[in-house]
Symmetry: C3
Amino acid sequence: MAGRSLVTLDDISTGQILELIHKARYIESNREKVAGTCNGRVLATLFYEPSTRTRLSFETAMLRLGGHVVGFPSAKLSSATKGETVYDTLKVVSNYADVVAIRHPKEGAVLVAADAADVPVINAGDGGHMHPTQTLADLATLDSRLGRFTDITIGLCGDLRFGRTVHSLIETLCRFGGVRFVLISPEELRTPRYVRDVIDASATCSYVETGSLTDVIGDLDALYMTRVQQERFENESDYLRLRDTYVLDTEKMTLAKPNMPVLHPLPRVNEIARDVDKDPRAAYFEQTRQGMLMRMALESSVLGDELAGYDPLGGVDLTVHDDGAQNGQDEGSFARLARSSILIDGVCPNPHCITTSENGLEQRCYRIVTGDDVRTGAAGRRCVYCDAELD
Amino acid sequence: MAGRSLVTLDDISTGQILELIHKARYIESNREKVAGTCNGRVLATLFYEPSTRTRLSFETAMLRLGGHVVGFPSAKLSSATKGETVYDTLKVVSNYADVVAIRHPKEGAVLVAADAADVPVINAGDGGHMHPTQTLADLATLDSRLGRFTDITIGLCGDLRFGRTVHSLIETLCRFGGVRFVLISPEELRTPRYVRDVIDASATCSYVETGSLTDVIGDLDALYMTRVQQERFENESDYLRLRDTYVLDTEKMTLAKPNMPVLHPLPRVNEIARDVDKDPRAAYFEQTRQGMLMRMALESSVLGDELAGYDPLGGVDLTVHDDGAQNGQDEGSFARLARSSILIDGVCPNPHCITTSENGLEQRCYRIVTGDDVRTGAAGRRCVYCDAELD
Amino acid sequence: MAGRSLVTLDDISTGQILELIHKARYIESNREKVAGTCNGRVLATLFYEPSTRTRLSFETAMLRLGGHVVGFPSAKLSSATKGETVYDTLKVVSNYADVVAIRHPKEGAVLVAADAADVPVINAGDGGHMHPTQTLADLATLDSRLGRFTDITIGLCGDLRFGRTVHSLIETLCRFGGVRFVLISPEELRTPRYVRDVIDASATCSYVETGSLTDVIGDLDALYMTRVQQERFENESDYLRLRDTYVLDTEKMTLAKPNMPVLHPLPRVNEIARDVDKDPRAAYFEQTRQGMLMRMALESSVLGDELAGYDPLGGVDLTVHDDGAQNGQDEGSFARLARSSILIDGVCPNPHCITTSENGLEQRCYRIVTGDDVRTGAAGRRCVYCDAELD
């Protein structure tokens, strides 16, 4: 992975994901031994919108490897206010830093950034589009608590419609395969068709949908909670009626298996009662620690800095079911960008797409090769930046 | 002190305060020797409201000990805007950092933070409530200039009613004892009853009140100036009439003792004329250096990191008069939190209390044991977070 | 230069500028050898207005020398909002940091800062007044691409009226001499009289003015592009008519010499087409790298920290034509401040001058010694802070 960017998890193979988890385990047990891994390196954290937890995680990861950090925590504090493009900013920052972590409110902005930069770029969230290191943290937490993330029954609860975190987790678990998904949400917030299609396309995964957490919690090996945000509902009464159904409390926890970990991408509002924190099955704060460890693994990997004493898995692909590889997903964002030879005159219809705000950017699209493509569920042209359907 | 938080100065004994000053002296004389004390450590500075001077002091202190820093300089740049509680933020940051310095506009917020965190938390100011490291800087400056802070006559001048800094200094000096306070303020800004009660409760301290700086400046061993803020007055004419009375200029300095240090918590507006800066008795800029040294002493102490070559005072309590210990103040914020077994249904009446904004927080109170309690001057129930009277 | 501040380039001699470039070259080739040059040092970056590129450059420079960084990226995050003066802030920060880089929207603010500080202060831009490290980056880029910056024909294109960067570059090149300036701008944005006077005062420099980039591009050894900002024009049609004339594209580049470097202070809006980036003559991104290297040279120099293995030019002044020295410019900002014995009762007429916002600042002026002064082109009194004419 040395020298490569991580825009989406499709940029790395399932074998590389397992290697990162293996590295994170090694780092956790050898904090002092790895403390000089990135000596003299500089990470730039370019956060065009604030996200304290993610930014501090990336930064602490680099500092604990011996590197340094520069950056900005908000676009208001950046030259973006002078109208500088993401492209130019990354061209400049490439001259300062050895690796960049970027968060941006526009979908596809990180692909633009990675294309411009001469150094590896890591996606720390681009709008509602992608947030790959969150998924890496989720996988590492499941692995830490259960010793595996295949051959499990996992419940996903709350807002399954808009939750980018949930979609990315589902798609990634499907690449490894052997997962039974229990999708727990109100009707208004059901998992979208194209995400369920990803599960259907996997030979070894399946799903059921339900509106009741209480009914199914006893069957789960792991539970992934998400926020139910009031602004998703048309009126307050719908929100209030549904909200409490999806609140996890100590009473519901009595119905769960004795070692069922509870995950949550945070921040929580009130969907997990404070009392649950004391339950040893609460894994959502450990999840942030796993996130930092995965970012340490990732930052050192893309920099090509070797961890002292580390014994790699060695390129052996340990995955049992790599559905993704069968669909050619492993070629990466840049291969996809490169092969997108069709230049479009129009603009992307997605108002959140980076093409709507970035000057000088060519609108490109890519054509899905086969009708059974697992990521998108449709043949057709899509924006190479934000994945929106163009026609 | 290793592993302990500092929410208020009541959390540490007078012996520990003297140890910190002793450490600060050692650090000052051995900058290079102590430069690796906190190698590999990470300090998180969580500033929910901006305070450049305090933040930079905490950060430089950690950097000069060999550690690293992450954090945010303003709540606008933090996940607080997504509704995350102080409690959850600290649970997360505990997974990144080894020690936390927190500033928050709500009173009691730092007690919530310290309760949540798994690592030591240092109060860098919680609203108008507490700012213990400012008081440590004040003590170290007095010690540096006078060689002592007992058996002195100290003048406190300006806004003695609302100035948290002044109240904390008075209370702490009373724990050591032997201090004659000269309280210099306009009638509108007199020292509150409960603060004067603290002095009265000390067998070895006393005070006089006056409206004239000129009348008393010649008697002082040290002078502590504070801002007189216009917004404290009902009309502008009162403000303008009084303001200049409390301005220290070179003319008033001619009346003072030849080695009377002038302290000020900064920022100053115009209450000390610029010309006074050149007077060697001006100690307010040195005060910021003493603050940084005390924060170096404090950060290394709560981390349990030993200063190379340091010879401790060794637990010998050198205080002459420890009035505080007699009143059981040394038990600390957490002991107080723990013994507060009464849960209240209502809410704290103080609109600046953290209980008014933080979700999921139990309202607790503590009952003052005796009527002669020196901190509060009253028996009764008080909010355990902000110390406001509940009835 | 150890211990000295850099407020304007007049503070250092042409020999010192050449030494800095020599150091930057050495640093570039010896990254690892110099990585511990500033071990234990702390740089404070006080940015009263945001400027990501400049701030990150200063910070990365210090980190790559082994030092640490504290600071604030915007005045909204500083104690300036509590009314603290620049003077007091610098008095305090001197107690934390070993060197300060400051950017401020008011002209002359950095002279106030340097006057207050007990440590070296570097100007990172004070309003439209000075930005000396930008000019150092420009010189280093010319030197890197052409091997020299004397005996060249350089085109300056775009807004030559308001562009502080361009004025500073012209004045500095004139100190070295032997430069033919081609000033390319619309009539509305011509180079000001006093800047052209600087060229006229140089025995070895000359200029021509033109409105057409296409006509002259073939004659240039180097081209310096600047932004043409819409807000400089009275009506939009004037702007639109002129804008494209000053856009550099691949077509115009075909007319240029095969090794003519293109510089730009950035950010660009659209005055250089994206396609030009791929042309090897595009030097504007390398320019930011040169800027970082020059800041490494400057920071280590003012700190007095020697680069391991570095062989200095040794005080030999290699300049061929040092016009500036003849006019006594080498005495520096502080000599100028010191000799300004005239205190004015009125205020500086420049609304952007620091004297209009900073409390307690004496209004001073300096009298130009001779009528042929090259910097100002006039005998008369000028504000010592912002250089505005007082009468």
